[in-house]
Homo-oligomer: 294 residues x 2
């Protein structure tokens, strides 16, 4: 599976890691030629001609912190602003946000997603978790440093690994419904990787916790950065020998085994079948597509 088919992957920006730690170079690039990603809260702003709207650093709130996103293909420094209005806010994705994001080309959606995850992290991480003192942005926004000289804690943008998995038993596929899903939507089960477990162990634990099913032969399929707030979706496939279900009703409304024909029908976009498939921007969509192609 090519990365460009997965939503939020395939940004054309060069992250230019070597510039982040070089404060002289960074200051030099923070000039009138630099581009500022325009945000409406944490949502992207669409340019009149379509695509992401970029301004200049003069458009940023003077009190904002600037995050260095990387270099454009023409070598211009790209930034996003952590404006004071965003501080402390938590913004789950809304139907309106999905609407705006659907207007973006894949590489622009990826650039926006990465910027959103990073700006959101700065907005929610103002203080040192170790000592409670204020922190300040460092290394072009790829670090925050504690201002308490006795602590000097260094903090890095968080990325939370999440496993998401399809399970196969006797030619049928296990899918589940979370309470927040639209009616009749079923998707792959999912859960955060915890300290002390491999990806494969996390997959087996989640499927057992949520559906009571024991799995074997977990294989990795693909991955996706998911900026709500900042997860790394790790999509896997597993096999089960016993289809008996014990559903954890605190996590799932329902879980069922679907036939290949039912999955193929739903994935064709039809809404009159056994269930409605996950949308194309979800990595679960790719997992189901991958399974149908096997």
């Amino acid at each position: 599976m090519t990365a460009s088919t997965i939503a939020f992957s395939g940004s054309a920006l060069d992250r230019a890691d070597h510039i982040r730690a070089n404060s002289e170079k960074l200051a030099e690039l923070t000039n009138w030629r630099a581009r500022l990603l325009k945000l409406d809260g944490l949502a992207p702003v669409i340019a009149p001609e379509g695509g992401l709207e970029w301004g200049t650093l003069a458009d940023a709130d003077p009190a904002a912190e600037l995050v260095f996103l990387g270099l454009s293909a023409e070598g211009r420094a790209c930034f996003a602003a952590v404006s004071p209005a965003l501080i402390g806010s938590v913004a789950p994705p809304s139907p309106a946000l999905w609407q705006v994001m659907s207007l973006l080309a894949p590489d622009e959606l990826a650039t926006y997603g990465g910027a959103k995850a990073l700006v959101d992290w700065h907005a929610r991480h103002r203080f040192c978790a170790r000592c409670g003192s204020a922190t300040v942005l460092a290394k072009g926004g790829w670090q925050r440093n504690c201002t308490n000289g006795a602590c000097k804690g260094e903090h890095f943008p968080r990325v939370d690994p999440v496993t998401i998995m399809t399970v196969e038993c006797d030619g049928t596929l296990l899918l589940g419904r979370q309470p927040r899903f639209p009616p009749r939507r079923f998707s792959a089960l999912a859960g955060f990787v915890e300290p002390g477990e491999t990806i494969e162990e996390a997959v087996a634990r989640e499927v057992h916790e949520e559906a009571g099913v024991r799995v074997r032969d977990v294989t990795y399929v693909c991955s996706q950065p998911w900026p709500f707030p900042s997860s790394l979706m790790i999509a896997c496939h597993a096999h089960a020998d016993d289809p008996a279900l014990t559903i954890d009703e605190t996590e799932l409304d329902d879980a069922r085994w679907f036939s290949r024909a039912e999955v193929a029908h739903a994935m064709s976009g039809a809404e009159d079948g056994a269930f409605i498939a996950p949308p194309p921007f979800a990595v679960a969509h790719h997992l189901l597509k991958w399974w149908l192609e096997q």
Copy 2:
């Protein structure tokens, strides 16, 4: 590759996730029959008969917070203590710690590693990153809640995904030396996954940043929980067409292409060859072994 061959994986504890949110059940299990993992600082204590030493909750510092690790095979609740002496400490692995850990069976090393990552997280996350107020342990140690009623921030144990990769070009393998490595040791290149990129994109970026090499066809090989402090190592393999190296000397002392015969010699445990292989507890060891078996 079976999970049990990878260090820090394969714990026999049942994480019993359903108990964490059930404060009544958790209180009931916090009894005289419960087991407490004995720690010396953040290092494991070895029992006189070998293996991890477990005590009872009476052995914990009365001021300690208790973290619920899960249920043993006999159904006994297992805990670890976040003692006041650990608060704020940062403990990188030491030769002495490796010595002690080498005495543990694989499943016990995994139980220790998961507990260490979790206790360490509590020791370094005492305050709310959003508002700076004190936090308190919740859900058996799988969450910390902000005590500021106007904030109510919820914080979860951190797991940092890291890519670690071998790169193949014309039958040779790219390995590098970090400045902190023992003399003549070479290992796989590695780096943190950042917000806004897939695993495959992170692999390509790291190899280009550290060695100046462009890669294609990234494949996932295996994963490992790494409790220093709490990473998820995601081991991959990639291919390159151009072996020209541009080494980032701020990251690496050296990087070189090694022949199959040189890798096989080093992996036999020999120290008189072109380089010394990464040790068996490192997932890089498994990557090199996997490559030799292809």
